[in-house]
């Protein structure tokens, strides 16, 4: 059974048109992450939540925002997508403890026209 679910799996948007990607988890994990992954590259951390505490990476553009209304859900908002934002967006969770591995969703692939 899927434990980290991302929707939609594929999203097509127009340049500048806002997009929201969602992530839900059934693991009751404290920590939720959003990664951006471009073709043939490693995932790049955008931000993470430890419970309700939001942690933004220093180089994450202001165009990217996130919300975590409760333990189970987390959203990634891209306010004005540019062509360079086309990528796979991966949500992951972890229990936050020592050696805690990340559990990834299947990803949401964003295309910007």
């Amino acid at each position: 059974d899927a434990m980290v679910i991302q929707n939609p799996r594929y999203q097509v948007t127009q340049f500048g048109k806002p997009v929201t990607l969602s992530c839900s988890q059934t693991l009751n994990h404290n920590v939720m992450y959003w990664y951006q992954q471009k073709s043939s590259q490693a995932p790049k951390l955008l931000f993470h939540y430890y419970d309700k505490d939001f942690n933004n990476e220093a180089d994450t553009p202001d165009n990217f925002q996130s919300r975590r209304p409760n333990t189970s859900f987390c959203f990634l908002d891209i306010r004005s997508p540019g062509l360079g934002d086309a990528a796979m967006y991966l949500c992951a969770t972890s229990g936050g403890g020592r050696g805690g591995e990340l559990f990834f969703g299947e990803g949401s692939r964003l295309t910007v026209l």
Partner: protein, 116 residues
């Protein structure tokens, strides 16, 4: 500070032959180390992890890795490659000393090709 170096960006093997994917790490703390696999258009799946217990770690699908502190390495191996092993593999390190050890550092990935 911590970092991960995957020594090969692309490895090509024949089906039935051994697989070796190399990973070196650096960490100021006692690290936790992971190998993840990613098939095309999929999320990342954990293959195995090392968290300061046994240095030889067995994972899913016949993969294993050995933590060698003296060599700062965590190479991934499999005795016999299957076609279904063709994928991208990521070596990942996290801080093991507590605190913000929930942030991970990814290697750049190794693309494994399996030839029939």
């Amino acid at each position: 500070a911590q970092s991960v170096t995957q020594l090969d960006s692309h490895v090509s093997v024949s089906e039935g032959t051994p697989v070796l994917l190399r990973c070196n790490y650096s960490s100021s703390y006692s690290p936790s180390l992971f190998w993840y696999v990613q098939h095309p258009n999929k999320g990342l799946q954990l293959l195995l992890k090392y968290t300061s217990a046994a240095t030889l770690v067995k994972g899913i699908n016949g993969f294993e890795a050995e933590f060698k502190k003296s060599e700062t390495s965590f190479h991934l191996t499999k005795p016999s490659a299957h076609m279904s092993d063709a994928a991208e593999y990521f070596c990942v390190v996290s801080r093991g000393s507590g605190g913000s050890n929930y942030k991970l550092t990814f290697g750049k990935g190794t693309l494994l090709t399996v030839n029939p």
